[in-house]
């Protein structure tokens, strides 16, 4: 098993953090191997940012994706730049308010920014997305992901982030059953 995952958006949205949490969930809080790489321009905000995570049950040699089976997208620019190597049955999860023109038929739409705003803090939009992404793609056990979130955010924001994660999970669960 080798899962090739890309998370992308614009700088400052927490794309790197989301990738970091996912990799940590897989390797520290579950028994997978994981590699997380990232690339971004010199800007602190804006510019296309991407984080790539490989999760495997075996040793990971090559650290690139070759092809992308799972993609989480939080900006139109990132979608345009990074959809070139999607596999035919790739699972794409995106925020439709940030990616209005995604030409991808079966994309899972999660209005994460709106959801986070309703929860009182736009800053957790990346965590809402991550919860939704994991639920749609079954990347790591939900419990491992929660543990990784708890381990990665300042303690006074733990509750907010865990709620954000669960909200993302639930949106996708609902859309599956509904």
């Amino acid at each position: 098993m080798r899962k090739n995952i890309r998370l992308c958006g614009s700088g400052g949205q927490g794309i790197m953090t989301a990738g970091y949490i996912l990799g940590k969930a897989a390797s520290v809080f579950h028994d997978y191997k994981a590699v997380q790489t990232q690339s971004y321009g010199p800007e602190a905000r804006g510019g296309a940012a991407r984080s790539e995570v490989i999760i495997s049950d075996r040793e990971i040699g090559y650290c690139g994706l070759m092809e992308t089976q799972y993609m989480m997208v939080m900006s139109q620019a990132a979608f345009d730049k990074y959809n070139f190597d999607l596999t035919e049955d790739a699972i794409v999860v995106l925020d439709p308010d940030l990616v209005p023109y995604a030409e991808y038929e079966d994309a899972v739409m999660v209005p994460a920014t709106k959801i986070a705003e309703e929860m009182g803090n736009k800053i957790v939009a990346n965590i809402v997305m991550l919860g939704a992404f994991n639920e749609a793609a079954y990347l790591v056990p939900e419990k491992a992901l929660e543990e990784a979130v708890k381990d990665s955010v300042p303690s006074k924001f733990t509750e907010l982030n865990i709620n954000a994660l669960r909200e993302g999970v639930n949106r996708v669960k609902k859309s599956k059953t509904g």
């Binding site: 390797s27 191997k33 590699v35 997380q36 790489t37 040699g61 090559y62 690139g64």
Partner: protein
């Protein structure tokens, strides 16, 4: 500051962590007892400095920002003479600035550890992206004849472990030891397991009284070509100079024999142990007709290529150099008698390729990639045919 591994482990936190290469360099250094960091921030090595500035005060060590990289390397050389285990990290442009003092550390036989988180050059090049463009500079960049030790880890766990090893080798050989990673490994995360125990080597101190101490004389308690180190402030006096010096440490600049003796000794103390310092990882070499020779980040791509080739039934093997300098001459010579062809995989336009060619007695080709992206396995396999 007294070294206490339990205290270090407490400062580092949990035993299993998901960290990047730059952090692993810090962890390795602190686990090795590093208590002085002199640095100047530069992408993609800045996080080493950032992390050191957070962790070092908790352990009672010193972390100081110098005015530039020339001062950084100077500061760690000076600190080492007070008995500190000293460390700095930098990248291309800073590494170029440090060259003169690398030579100074070699001729004064000062134990120091330097990490180079390589980025694309020349000049400021591609700051945020990885490369392996300084592999020759680390060995030949400073003027004159000298030898150094350079290690090239390819995982985050290994980056931490090799940093510990680098400190031990610096202490044992009284030489600058380099950890050559790159921007990709520096910013890539994997899980590491922090060791329960660490074996450390401490530089040999003189046992004779200060008046009988010969600072650059033959070693008496360990390696003959590595003199004992009289730490400043302990009563032992050493005249530390970059000029050619006699065994007492005083300049002997117009003495051909002294120069010959000194320079050959500081080279031979490393090259005599070439075999001992050689560290190779082999995979699928038993029946290999083509060997992929690589190191660092390029060796991760080579692993991908190896798997792909083996799935197709091609007799490809993997031969990874974990130490680059002193160059594993015999290992390459011997390798070339086992295979028909060697493909050297590196993220530059050909550096270690030339060293391999020098010692291999078979066809040697280069699989080169620059621009900030590691090789894809397919690109490597294109050279195997």
């Amino acid at each position: 500051m007294k070294y206490d591994i339990q205290k270090v482990k407490k400062v580092l936190g949990k035993d299993k962590q998901f960290i990047h290469g730059d952090t692993a360099l810090c962890y390795g250094a602190l686990l090795a007892g590093c208590n002085f960091y002199g640095g100047y921030p530069i992408t993609p090595a800045s996080e080493v400095f950032e992390m050191m500035s957070k962790l070092m005060p908790k352990l009672g060590g010193v972390c100081i920002q110098m005015e530039d990289e020339i001062a950084s390397i100077a500061s760690i050389i000076g600190a080492s003479w007070t008995g500190a285990k000293s460390f700095t990290a930098t990248s291309g442009p800073g590494f170029s600035l440090m060259q003169e003092n690398f030579g100074f550390a070699c001729i004064t036989e000062t134990p120091v550890v330097i990490a180079n988180v390589q980025r694309s050059g020349p000049s400021t090049g591609q700051p945020t992206l990885g490369a392996q463009g300084d592999m020759m500079q680390v060995r030949y960049g400073s003027h004159g004849d000298f030898e150094i030790i350079a290690l090239a880890p390819n995982t985050i766990q290994e980056t931490m472990e090799f940093t510990i090893k680098a400190f031990n080798l610096a202490e044992e050989y009284r030489v600058p030891v380099f950890i050559m990673i790159d921007g990709d490994i520096g910013h890539m995360r994997e899980m590491v397991t922090i060791p329960q125990e660490v074996e450390l080597f401490e530089r040999k101190k003189p046992k004779v009284s200060p008046d009988k101490y010969i600072p650059f004389g033959p070693g008496r308690y360990g390696k003959k070509k590595v003199p004992e180190f009289g730490v400043f402030g302990t009563g032992y006096h050493t005249y530390v100079t970059g000029l050619t010096h006699n065994e007492q440490g005083f300049p002997a600049t117009d003495d051909q024999e002294e120069h010959d003796r000194l320079v050959k000794r500081i080279c031979e103390k490393i090259t005599d142990d070439r075999e001992k310092l050689t560290d190779i990882e082999e995979r699928n070499m038993e029946d290999a007709e083509v060997a992929l020779v690589s190191y660092g980040m390029a060796s991760r791509s080579s692993l991908g290529a190896l798997n792909m080739a083996r799935e197709r039934g091609e007799r490809v093997g993997y031969f990874r150099l974990k130490n680059i300098w002193p160059f594993p001459e015999k290992a390459i010579e011997e390798l070339s008698t086992r295979v028909d062809k060697i493909v050297v995989v590196e993220m530059n336009l050909g550096q270690i390729y030339h060293k391999v060619k020098e010692f291999a007695d078979c066809e040697v080709v280069l699989s080169s990639k620059i621009g900030g992206e590691p090789h894809s396995p397919k690109e490597i396999l294109a050279e195997v045919k």
